[in-house]
């Protein structure tokens, strides 16, 4: 009968609609989401001028992911890790960021130490609704040019300069001379140092900035006045080697405080090695870490393949900076597990979970306890002062995060930021 058939059809439709609603209620999909892997994408500089950082962070991040997968994954979900080469070029890095999110469907992104990339990534992260961790050194990445989507799992250049300035004032003398490469990073090292010097009674006798790509620092070193007890030098990798050697050859014997010694060996600093100091983000040598941290650091080094001196198996990567990859991955794990994050819809929960979070020295955070400051998403961690001494690069001091914190107030408050 017609009536009967209509009833039958309606029943079928009714059941179908019910099933559709049930599927959308997530009973079906959330189960799938739980087993679906979490994808962490990384844009690291594997080529170009920053390759010693990128290859290092890539190595430790990969190791972290492997270890996590061996021990149950993140919230029970396996982790996939995809790395792309940023080529030390912000434009390329941003394209890779997009690719990792839009093509490879990555849930979280790790970014290299390229500051331009870190800054350019903020609007992109917001557009793509993807949280990113930057290893860049520019202050404003977690400052006025950043936003709530960006976290930084390592201290920045300004923080290092603060620690370095205080250490120098205490140990090296009362008058300094500033030099740097004429771009933002070079200036920030010298300017920040000068500001701190003003507070602790050290006089900056003068400053000079050389154009990028300067081959020869002899003319500038020649200008260092006799009264300078030490030199503050905002220079990077290859320039540091040049600077140390050329200073020695000119007869300069004052300490030179540089911005980084990443992957530079004692031997490469030449006879000038004993002059070189550096405020950096981790101790190169194992024994430079305080006793409460050392055992965790040792375990971490064994997993990623770093020796007690701080070198990887190829002898090309040094330890000071590259732990940022490892800990970046573990911040992701922490955020996901503590907030119950399942998909990007939970990004705000993730952010809130990390804002103000504290971690202790542990296998996951082997460089020591630290805090992820809520207002600017900047980690407050220890700064180490290292120096070339008797054939090695040794650790001479450490400014702990708690000491650094009051001297580095935030200049933004992301906790007040709405997401879209």
């Amino acid at each position: 009968m017609k009536g009967g058939n209509m009833m039958g059809k309606r029943k079928i439709i009714f059941v179908m609609v019910l099933t559709l609603i049930w599927m959308h209620l997530g009973a079906f999909s959330s189960e799938a989401a739980e087993k679906k892997p979490i994808r962490i994408g990384a844009v690291y500089d594997l080529t170009g001028g920053l390759s010693v950082y990128g290859n290092g962070s890539n190595m430790t991040a990969k190791a972290a992911v492997e270890r996590i997968n061996k021990t149950g994954g993140i919230a029970g979900r396996p982790v996939e890790y995809i790395v792309e080469d940023g080529a030390t070029d912000a434009a390329t890095g941003l394209r890779k960021f997009r690719k990792l999110v839009q093509k490879d469907e990555c849930d979280f992104i790790l970014l290299s130490c390229n500051s331009g990339l870190g800054i350019g990534a903020a609007p992109l992260a917001k557009e793509l609704d993807t949280i990113a961790f930057s290893e860049g050194t520019a202050r404003e990445i977690t400052g006025k040019k950043g936003n709530r989507y960006i976290f930084r799992q390592i201290d920045n250049a300004e923080m290092a300069a603060i620690a370095m300035a205080q250490f120098a004032a205490k140990e090296l003398g009362k008058s300094a001379y500033g030099m740097g490469a004429d771009y933002e990073w070079g200036h920030s090292v010298v300017d920040t140092t000068e500001k701190v010097f003003g507070k602790v009674g050290v006089k900056m006798l003068g400053k000079d900035f050389s154009p990028i790509g300067t081959l020869d620092f002899v003319p500038y070193l020649g200008k260092v006045p006799k009264g300078a007890h030490f030199i503050v030098a905002g220079y990077f990798t290859a320039d540091v080697v040049k600077l140390a050697n050329q200073a020695w050859e000119l007869g300069l014997r004052v300490p030179i405080f540089v911005g980084t010694l990443q992957s530079i060996r004692y031997e490469d600093l030449g006879p000038g090695a004993e002059l070189v100091w550096c405020g950096t983000y981790g101790s190169r040598s194992l024994d430079g870490y305080p006793s409460d941290v050392r055992s965790f650091q040792k375990a971490y080094r064994q997993i990623v393949g770093l020796d007690d001196e701080g070198w990887d198996r190829t002898g090309k990567l040094s330890a000071e900076y590259i732990w940022a990859g490892w800990e970046g991955v573990y911040w992701v794990k922490k955020g996901v597990e503590e907030s119950g994050w399942t998909t990007k819809k939970d990004n705000l929960k993730f952010m809130k979970a990390l804002e103000g979070a504290r971690v202790k020295a542990s296998p996951e955070f082997p460089t020591g306890s630290k805090m992820m400051r809520a207002e600017d998403h900047q980690v407050i961690a220890d700064i180490y002062v290292i120096k070339g001494e008797k054939g090695k690069v040794v650790t001479k001091g450490c400014m702990r995060g708690e000491e650094l914190l009051p001297q580095y107030p935030p200049n933004v408050d992301f906790t007040k930021e709405a997401l879209q």
């Binding site: 912000a90 394209r95 609007p123 933002e184």
Partner: protein
């Protein structure tokens, strides 16, 4: 005639295809179009006028900042930002072209290199203005069409806008080189002495061409800033010049369309290969570039054109 039809066909394809592409490839296509516009500027001065401008990054970086700074500091709208870019780039390229037009080929090249270096150093040093190596970010203003205001970051809005601008400029440039002025410029490329003897004011022609080239590349720089919402002093770095050079040459010098094919092929492959092997991709790209140019010395489009005309006979 056939060529014209082909171009129209490609244009229609470009209108339709993105609707079927995934988000990433849409964005890649946007970048390719912008890079194509940048290379078009280079093709104008190198391919059509015969002058090697080894400092196109000046226009790219300048155009970018001319769009970025007004938006950042004065909150101007999209159209105003582009207008500012076009006007000031024209003035700048004109003055620049005027100063440089008396030079013959080799010395022209040196001047352009030096100028681009100077701009790079200034951009790096003037930190508050440009953000130096860190750069500056902006919130890209919406696309205001009078009756409706569209969010520019929406991929389809961005795509059609960029496609529209690139197509319009391409069309105008193409038309230009079919005008007497344009043809005169080509004559200068062929043989400047002869052109001058024939009565052409070669200096003026070179200045016109240079100005046009500067505006086109500058516009590309502005579009790139709108795409990324970011720029830094690195946009003045010689690497961008190098990119415009190899994109244009591989695409096909003097073909206009080659300026878009070059980045289309190279950016696509670079992206693909760098994912496949981050360590070796630069070597592979180098080999590809060498092979392509040896096998197709007139670039991809140039060689195809040659083959087709030969066949036509």
């Amino acid at each position: 005639m056939k060529y014209r039809l082909l171009l129209i066909g490609i244009f229609l394809l470009l209108i339709v295809v993105p609707n079927f592409l995934t988000s990433f490839y849409k964005q890649l296509l946007i970048e390719i179009l912008i890079f194509g516009l940048f290379s078009l500027g280079f093709d104008i001065i190198f391919g059509f006028t015969g002058l090697l401008n080894f400092g196109t990054s000046v226009f790219f970086g300048l155009g970018g900042y001319l769009a970025l700074l007004p938006i950042l500091h004065w909150n101007v709208g999209l159209w105003i930002a582009l207008l500012i870019t076009i006007v000031i780039c024209s003035l700048f390229s004109f003055v620049y072209g005027l100063s440089i037009s008396r030079f013959k080929s080799h010395y022209f090249v040196a001047f352009t290199i030096v100028v681009s270096m100077i701009f790079f150093y200034i951009a790096m040093a003037k930190r508050p203005l440009t953000g130096s190596d860190e750069g500056l970010t902006i919130k890209v203003p919406p696309l205001d069409l009078g009756f409706v205001s569209l969010r520019f970051s929406h991929p389809m809005v961005k795509y059609y806008f960029v496609l529209g601008v690139c197509s319009l400029v391409f069309f105008l440039v193409w038309k230009f080189f079919h005008t007497p002025y344009g043809k005169a410029i080509i004559a200068v490329r062929e043989n400047e002495e002869r052109a001058r003897l024939l009565g052409y004011n070669t200096r003026n022609l070179k200045v016109i061409s240079f100005t046009l080239s500067g505006v086109v590349s500058g516009l590309a720089g502005a579009l790139y800033v709108l795409h990324l919402g970011f720029s830094s002093a690195h946009s003045f770095f010689w690497l961008w010049t190098a990119r415009s050079v190899w994109w244009t040459i591989i695409g096909g010098v003097g073909t206009l369309f080659g300026a878009f094919v070059g980045p289309g092929v190279l950016v696509f492959f670079e992206d693909l290969i760098s994912t496949w092997n981050p360590d070796l991709y630069l070597i592979i790209m180098g080999i590809i570039m060498i092979l392509v140019i040896i096998l197709a010395p007139q670039g991809i489009v140039g060689s195809i054109q040659t083959v087709l005309t030969k066949r036509g006979k």
